[in-house]
């Protein structure tokens, strides 16, 4: 059944993509100015990019996102679980989260740069900071939403805390974790762009700004398209994970 529905879905996506290109082409004709090249020119520029160059830039960006997401998940899961399972820790940490959550994390960019320099650390840290609070809050609420009775049978047969965590708490909280990642991934990619403007010679952000400085507009647009593609692939990845781990809800 899934396969039957997948084909029209793909066709629809393709159709929308073609329409967007058409709008772009009409805008190009109307504007008739080098700051907006035609889709054809951009795809040609994309084609001419060296495969090695593209792989290096995309690879760097993906690595930074991956590291940031992983760090945020590890720390967020730990704190979120602690807050979800222990009323004492929740009372202690709740005000901390409550006070720091509304701070626009992007405003911390200069602070992070001051403390950790312009290198990789500050880039990964920024992505982590953006994601961390959302992960903490959603893990805590997800863990709290698991009814106590779900643990009863395992408790009565003498399961250890670790066994209860692997079999109940983690899978029970996984759906909220996945939806949080899906939502915050978009923000993380935007922040990645900002952090790649400075202090690096690799990454999609650097690539786009570099083309912009060289007034190579087709290449700049090609970079934007590639960046979008990376984001799109990441979204698909979360969907695949969701499909694999959330089968039980269907």
């Amino acid at each position: 059944m899934v396969k039957k529905r997948r084909l029209p879905h793909l066709l629809r996506l393709l159709f929308v993509f073609l329409c967007m290109n058409l709008v772009w082409y009409i805008a190009y004709l109307l504007m008739n100015h080098p700051i907006l090249p035609s889709p054809g020119a951009v795809y040609e520029a994309m084609f001419h990019l060296g495969a090695k160059d593209v792989a290096l830039n995309v690879g760097y960006s993906l690595l930074r996102i991956f590291e940031g997401v992983l760090l945020a998940l590890l720390i967020g899961l730990l704190i979120g679980l602690l807050m979800g399972r222990s009323p004492l820790w929740n009372r202690l940490l709740d005000p901390v989260v409550y006070l720091t959550y509304p701070i626009p994390k992007i405003a911390l960019l200069p602070v992070v740069m001051l403390f950790f320099g312009l290198g990789e650390t500050s880039k990964v840290l920024m992505i982590m900071l953006i994601l961390l609070f959302q992960v903490i809050i959603s893990v805590r609420d997800g863990v709290k939403a698991i009814p106590e009775s779900t643990y009863d049978v395992l408790t009565s047969i003498g399961a250890s805390a670790g066994q209860k965590f692997w079999n109940v708490t983690l899978p029970g909280a996984l759906s909220v974790i996945l939806s949080t990642i899906r939502i915050s991934l978009g923000t993380a990619i935007s922040v990645l762009f900002f952090t790649e403007i400075y202090g690096t010679e690799h990454g999609m952000g650097f690539f786009i700004m570099d083309a912009w400085l060289r007034l190579d507009y087709p290449e700049m647009y090609a970079g934007i398209m590639l960046f979008s593609l990376v984001g799109f692939v990441l979204f698909l990845l979360v969907d695949v994970l969701d499909y694999k781990f959330m089968k039980w809800r269907r």
Binding site: S149, T150, D152, V153, L154, T155, S156, I157, G158, A159, Q163, N167, V168, P171, G172, L174, F245, K247, W248, R249, R250
Partner: protein
Amino acid sequence: MSSLRNSGLSIKALQVEYKSGQKALGQVDFTLPEHGIYTIIGPSGSGKSTLLRAVAGLLPDYEGELLFNGKSVHDQETLIGLVPQNYGLLPWKTVRDNIRVAMKITRPVGGSREAIEADITHWLQSMGIAELAGRYPLSLSGGQQQRVAIARAFAIRPAILLLDEPFSALDAITREALQQIFLDNWLTHPATALFVTHDVEEAILLGQKIVVMPSAKHDSPEILDNTAVFAMKHEKKRDSDEFFEQSKRIRKVMLAKW
């Protein structure tokens, strides 16, 4: 000592209080012989579920003693199989995985993978749900989920089996089919069992003795002998005179105590 070692489940002066100091369970005293099955019947709020939760080790605070063959019920050696009213299945695990998890926790060492899998298949078959092994609980009906929960409870080969109104959310036909299946399996694997119900008929059909819980906490429960009905063939119980007499007797106790 031998009498102690095979004395079954003895509940001595068990009392449970809520944090507010109010009594959740008045004093309960009875001994359930090893490989015996008692049904517990009582009005809502009489503490029958509380009694079961105390034995299951889900209540940290209670007064009194819970012993199995002379040792604490919550000893590592005494395995307890619990069948809660809401089935207690993990929704993110398939039927087979639900049973496998329980078995792996209770038998951490020994037992090859093949033996475990064969055991799971055996229990699914005896519950009549072999074809549901790969399904997730949310896609099953209540009756099917309860069969899985019972299969899981039997599969870990518990010393004590606790059932908390397992069939009360099911329709009459499903309930009768499951009572029969449960009893057949219990007779071949007679774990020491406590069966909580609010259905008089069910209490008579499934218990060697029937514990009638009082609604007042200062009262003590009345224990009725039911061996005459229990010894009959399951299909014949309902139509027998003894069944009729027994239900009259229970109703009389209910009138006095509830």
